[in-house]
């Protein structure tokens, strides 16, 4: 009662059968009626042939014989009649009608090479799937949430997604970065040695609370900004959404550990400055995905890598050092994706540089002459000084100035890596927000 292998019989020669129809497929539905399960055998068989392709259906059921033509009429297949076999079975012939999804195994089918994708070590990477079922250059809003590689029935409603072009969304590294991000997830409750939070002098504890407040505030923006683009992504680029989803989980964890550290030593939270608020609002108001990724991930999170290294190096206790180090490793992936995204987009759109520069200039205009928020400057200085002894603060302040220099230097380096000229990179770096993000 199961489908036999498709046989290379010639296609139906009846007038009206389409040219190039698939070879006939034969099934046996035994004594099943249309309403008793026969369709579960007949329909998948029809799914194997193109329009006009013929399925022969052996049956011993008089009820099936009575109804199969009516079912064909209802489904717009063509019932071609039946003949009686010597063993008493009837063999009905059904030609596939014009509607429905493309046949299984056709050009639009796919889904890759199946189990052959699995690696000898037993792992199965998203990157391997993406290599087998690559991103389309453009995606049709009418395919909705249909997974890439599925056979999509035509006529579906268009979805309200407007990020439709591979070259603006989905660099080839996407799935590899997703695999890495998933493998690198950690637990904000158990993977930080919270018992190694030290009791610190008051000035240092306050400075640390201010730094953690600033980090958490910026990381909240890094949670909100990519999230607003997720619903606009076409699901054909699901790996981009999957990577962003893991990125959002990263940011959630960072907010969690930074605020935990601010509170764990009893110092509590510091000040949220208007400069920071204004800078982050200008990020949140970005409506172009590439511009937002550029401002957030390349310039903002890139600069944050240097900031996090600074905090890690000067961390007053092991808990702080570990949690900041873990956050920095996550942020490095975010920067990597941002760079890959912008590099990919720049390579396909020479006009993009001007747009990105304009986005940076617009943002700079909203920031006015603001500098690094005062209490953030002070807190980073005291942190590097390990306290507020004047001699140590001199060293701490020198370290802070070096940090600013290093941030500028590395921003230029990253911008060049993203595909900008050195001159362009310097211009953009100089215009970057004093809020770091």
């Amino acid at each position: 009662m199961t489908a036999r292998e498709a046989r290379p019989e010639p296609a139906d020669a009846r007038p009206g059968a389409s040219q190039g129809a698939a070879g006939a497929v034969a099934v046996d539905v035994g004594d099943l009626a249309i309403g008793g399960g026969a369709l579960a055998i007949l329909r998948p068989a029809l799914d194997l042939v193109t329009e006009g392709g013929v399925v022969t259906v052996a049956s011993v059921s008089p009820a099936f014989a009575e109804d199969v033509a009516s079912w064909c009429r209802a489904e717009r297949h063509v019932y071609l009649g039946a003949e009686r076999l010597p063993d008493g079975r009837a063999v009905h012939r059904v030609a596939r009608g014009p509607h429905g999804a493309a046949p299984a195994g056709g050009a639009s089918g796919g889904g890759g090479a199946g189990l052959a994708l699995r690696r000898p070590d037993g792992t199965f990477l998203a990157a391997d799937v993406l290599a087998a079922v690559p991103f389309p250059a453009h995606a049709d809003p009418a395919t909705g949430f249909a997974p890439r590689g599925a056979r999509v029935e035509p006529g579906g409603p268009p979805y309200p997604v407007d990020l439709l072009d591979r070259d603006r969304l989905a660099p080839p590294e996407t799935a590899r970065l997703y695999d890495q991000a998933v493998a690198a997830q950690w637990d904000a409750t158990r993977d930080v040695p919270w018992d190694k939070v030290a009791t610190l002098p008051v000035a240092l504890e306050r400075a640390l609370g201010q730094v953690m407040t600033f980090l958490a505030e910026n990381e909240l923006s890094a949670l909100w900004v990519p999230a607003k683009f997720l619903p606009r992504l076409h699901p054909a680029y699901a790996e981009v959404a999957m990577l962003l989803a893991v990125t959002l989980a990263d940011e959630a964890r960072h907010v969690d550990v930074f605020l935990k550290r601010a509170r764990a030593g009893g110092g509590g939270l510091g000040v949220s400055h208007v400069t920071t608020s204004r800078s982050l609002l200008s990020l949140l108001q970005q409506e172009d995905f590439t511009e937002a990724m550029f401002l957030l991930s390349v310039l903002g999170e890139g600069t944050f890598l240097d900031l996090l290294r600074f905090v890690e190096v000067h961390a007053p206790d092991e808990a702080t050092s570990v949690l900041v180090g873990k956050a920095r490793a996550d942020e490095a992936r975010h920067v990597h994706f941002g760079l890959a995204h912008v590099r990919h987009a720049l390579a396909h759109d020479p006009a993009l540089y001007d747009r990105l520069e304009a986005a940076v200039r617009r943002r700079a205009a909203t920031m006015g002459d603001a500098g690094v928020p005062a209490s953030v400057q002070d807190a980073l200085t005291v942190l590097a000084a390990h306290g507020d002894e004047p001699a140590a603060v001199r060293t701490g302040h020198a370290a802070f100035r070096e940090l600013l220099e290093e941030m500028g230097h590395n921003r230029v380096r990253r911008l060049v890596a993203a595909g900008f000229t050195v001159t362009q990179a310097r211009t953009l770096s100089d215009l970057h927000t004093p809020n770091f993000m």
Partner: protein
Amino acid sequence: MNTIVLGAVAYDPKVVTIWEGIRDHFRGAGVPMDFCLFSNYERQVEALLAGHVHVAWNTPLAHVRVRRRTGGTSRSLGMRDSDRDFHSKLVVRRDAGVRSLADLHGKTLAVGSRDSTQARILPLHFLAQEGVDLARVKVLPFDTDLGKHGDTGTSELDVLAALRDGRAQAGVVGDLVWVGEQAAGRVDPSRLEALWTTPGFDHCMFDALASFPSAQADAFWRALAAMRWDDPKSRRLLELEGLRQWMPPREEGYASLVAALDAAGGW
């Protein structure tokens, strides 16, 4: 071009959705059209004959009445693909001992509304043609939604319910209802089966009077034919209206209904 006013019978709330959607589609195709709804086909036929509407979306019974009342001069404008080659099914309980049409004698036969072509008029006509003496069959009628000519399908579901409950040993329903109910898993094939299928006949038709201008008839057809199953907007409407594609009119599929009405005095 003057606005084409179309009549349709409001047999279900979805009729508003269907015709507002088709009206928008016609406007998009440059064919101004509006519609008005009637509560029953008798009223709609009178409105067409009186010139209150230009086009009536008619059941087969309404269509043959328009043909008769206009002396065959009415213009048929188009039909659904699903209106062609309609059949009715004689469904029996497997435990009823009905193995041939002759076995219906002495049994209870559930039928749909008396104005339903597929669930009453034609299956009884064809059964009589096959030699069934209807006087010897206990007919159990479900005269629901009279005036809607069977559009709601309610009486056909009543027939199937009567068969399931054992109130009837046999019943007649349209083929699309029968296979649709089976495909949806609402029929127990160990208890019910189709024993016989009537000859084919055609179903609904857009009717206009002979005075309907050819240019408008052409425009009407052009707009209809532009509705595509693969187009999301059209598809939603086509699904609701029960078709994949509009077809040109043909008259030969109504001969059996005319004969049935002549034989039974059903005009």
